[in-house]
Amino acid sequence: MDRHRSLAFHGGALALLFLLQFVLPPYHHTNFTSIMVLATYGIGYNILIGYTGLLSLGHAMFFAAGLYAAGLTVHYFNIDPISAFILGAAAALAFATAVGLVALRTTGVSFMIVTMMFAQACFLLILYFNQVTRGDEGLVLSGAARQIGGLSLTNPTFRYNLALALFTGALVLCYILIRSRVGRVLVAIRENEERVKMLGYHTFRYKLLALALSGLLSGAAGASYALMFGYVGATFASIEYSIFALLWVLLGGAGTVLGPIIGALLMFYLVEWTSEVTQSYRIVVGAALVLLTLFFPKGILGTLREKRLRWLP
């Protein structure tokens, strides 16, 4: 019963996103496209913070790994977007695994600090190899290189549906993961890692798996962003983009499948509206973070789940 309700809820959300493309005005059409890509990044982040209980402040490095792996190969070697996407996601997966092998040796706040530092080192590496990356200015991918089977990635309808497909894939992956036995172990690690260890689990491996999957989704989102919007720049590796993921997930509800997209949507339009009346959108972001921790530590969906929708995964 709960299972059906939950399937209907998420299926309904995806159907709504599909239908929205027919009614959204062009500006919001493009915004939704980019929000779905960024929400995929959010889902990746959520697997780690929401379901495994690991607070990373360096996820922009995985997003950037996908962004650069896909972007640079398209720019320099002219490979096709599908291979570039696969390459980007794979690069992020490998990178996240490598980072995990070191960073997961720490726990709690040290993990946060270490991920943040690694991300900053990646940001500096991008600047350091400016001959290749063009540093902060970044690279523009030509429209000609961004074609899949004759369809241009600059075509809004095509792009919207690709973003939707990416988001759906991430959502389904996340949904299956948390319903699986592995997902149960991850949640148990979030609740009490020591106990899970004494139940005989090699918790390090599970955390590594969570981080790798999280990096994979972040990187897939990064690669898609590069290919769909044609720009690759160091800004996306900055700490700000790690904080954004945290903000979306916390706002939407950590440990809820749809939380990241709700958070990303709300945050986008909150900044959009406030920037019309004030230039201080950062205060809005900051206040949102503080107020969330004080009054809604579980985020929107998390609070809903607590109050009524107990079946929400």
């Binding site: 706040v109 270490v114 350091y128 950062r282 972001v285 949102a288 973070l289 004080l294």
Partner: protein, 292 residues
């Protein structure tokens, strides 16, 4: 310039940077040690120290007197702000570590933007209280930088004395060791936390005041000291005061030397790699105890 003097200059620059870094990182690690929380807005306290130093120096007018006022008043104001933050926010969710991280990220944004609104996007300088140039046979050097190193050394000593020898320090150490037992023995843990949080902020603020005649006050200046402090506390062992100070010198001086001979970006990348190595061989940091 030949290698010898070049290295000397690098060492001098690195040492001055290390003293300031040690003060900043000490504040961060003190807060972690006693309260078990990480203050991501720590760099903003550093920045606020610098910005208020500009404001006070500007109000007074006379450089030497203005700086003197700034050294005393700026940390007090910043410490006061930290107290307000502690009461209004951190205490409400009982210093829960993850919530603290998120809330202090929020504070980082809020503080930066408030400074941008009321102080502006400009970098503003404060005149050094003493202005002389030390002429070495090979190059000239700012006398004020040597003064900064001296003051920072005194402050580090004073902090050590405060923690090791005074009653307040004893209470702090007791709370750090076991806050529940401390509470049971009648130590007002709540107030100790507030005091420690304020003290941590004041240490960062003083570092900001000292640096402002060298580097100017600028609303985005907090990120670098924050990241460097993070590197320092991880290498030194979270919560270890001795580790933080030793690591500050390792990082400060090596950063000075590497960035003189190679690239500053490279030196920061190398520092991060060093952290990775430390974690592989000693996850608890070079001087950290095993996590309890």
């Amino acid at each position: 310039m030949s290698l010898g003097p070049h290295l000397l200059l690098a060492l001098m620059e690195g040492t001055v940077a290390a003293f300031v870094l040690a003060l900043t990182a000490l504040g961060l690690t003190l807060v972690f040690g006693v309260m078990r929380i990480v203050n991501v807005a720590h760099g903003e306290f550093f920045m606020l120290g610098a910005v208020f130093a500009w404001a006070f120096a500007h109000l007074v007018g006379n450089p030497a007197l203005g700086f003197l006022v700034a050294v005393i008043a700026s940390p007090i104001v910043v410490g006061g702000a930290a107290l307000v933050i502690d009461r209004a926010i951190l205490r409400r969710f009982n210093y829960q570590p993850e919530a603290t991280i998120v809330a202090t990220i929020g504070l980082l944004y809020i503080i930066q933007q408030l400074v941008l609104i009321f102080y502006g996007p400009d970098a503003r300088s404060v005149e050094a209280p003493i202005n002389f140039r030390v002429q070495l046979p090979w190059f000239g050097y700012s006398g004020y930088k040597l003064v900064v190193a001296g003051i920072a050394a005194l402050l580090l000593l004073a902090t050590w004395y405060g923690i090791a020898k005074t009653k307040l320090g004893l209470v702090m150490r007791a709370t750090q060791f076991d806050s529940e037992t401390a509470q049971a023995f009648g130590i007002p843990v709540d107030r100790v936390y507030a005091a420690v949080f304020a003290l941590g902020a004041m240490l960062a603020a003083i570092a900001g005041v000292l640096i402002v005649p060298i580097k100017q006050a600028y609303y985005l200046m907090g990120l670098d000291p924050l990241l460097l402090s993070f590197i320092v506390v991880i290498i030194g062992g979270l919560g270890s005061l001795r580790g933080a100070i030793i690591a500050a010198f390792v990082i400060g001086i090596s950063d000075g030397v590497i960035s003189v001979f190679f690239s500053p970006n490279l030196s920061k990348i190398l520092a991060t790699l060093l952290v990775a190595l430390v974690l592989i061989f000693r996850p608890e940091g070079l001087f950290g105890g095993k996590a309890r």
